[in-house]
Amino acid sequence: MNTIVNSPMFGITLTFLAYEFGILVTRKVRSPLLNPMVIAAALCIGFLQLTGIPLESYQVGGDFLIMLIFPATTCIAVSVYSKIDLLKQHFVPIVVGCTVGAATSIGSVILLAKWLGLPDILTVSMAPKSVTTAIAIEISALLQGQPSLTVMAVMITGITGVLSAPVLIKLFRITDPIIQGVALGTSSHVIGTAKALELGQTQGAMGGISIFITGLATVGVVALTF
């Protein structure tokens, strides 16, 4: 049994099976609360707890998957490049919005966490929550945060954005598709952008561009703040 669970193939296969199951579920039940990654993680946690297989065994293969985050991050450039015309056309408002958003996100996390008396490790792990997971993990590591807490914060942020966007758009009468897209992409990254795509093509593209610019702006803000 030990040779099986300590093989890298165990962690990799369990993760892939759980992910495929997560995709299957989200295809049947569409809800902003359900996301293949969340379902898969819950399944893996449940499996490890039930069988008593230690987390270290799972991570033997898991570490291999974590290494793939790097080339995946490099490839984010491709998705932005395919929307280059929109970026050129609305360059100034996008850069202003993403920079203000990145600063607001980090600033409000620090203030709220301090007010609630949360320990530093939680604060720095939450600080990059508004950027896409790949970038957030890197910034969290830079600040000596915990990647797993950061991924949690990123997920909560994404789901909040999707659920609240329709209400906020109505409340503040935001009709401009550019503003809708940038606000969604900046405040709630990829998950928000999926919602922006539902609102329209322009919103979706603006959301995708905003993920990239907000990621860069966040690195800048973090370099200045911490």
Partner: protein, 125 residues
Amino acid sequence: MKIMEQLTLVTLVGLAGIVLASLLPIPFPGSIMSMLLMFILLLSKAIRIRQIEQVSQFFLANMGAFFIVPVVAILEQLEVMKGKTLQFFAVCIVSTLITFIATAGSVKLTLVLMKKSQANKGAGQ
């Protein structure tokens, strides 16, 4: 290009990103530098989309699969989170709402200001 060649190109840019980031006076994540570098290489047409098309599509479409392991590692953080879960959620939720409003407001303001300055230019002519 063949998948292996595409992958090699992506990892090469990745490595170059690490080298570039290490030259900066401030701590800068290598992966984010490689993303920026890839973007510049695409802009300058040194690399064409078709040269990395299948590999980048694979990574972009399945990125979620690579983040499952860090989430599962939350099992190690239960001690830190003890009694703080509610606050953790509250900070993330409230901050996201504030960020959305601030972003939307600043984009709106920028668009209005740009329109005004253009109108002024038009009036001056």
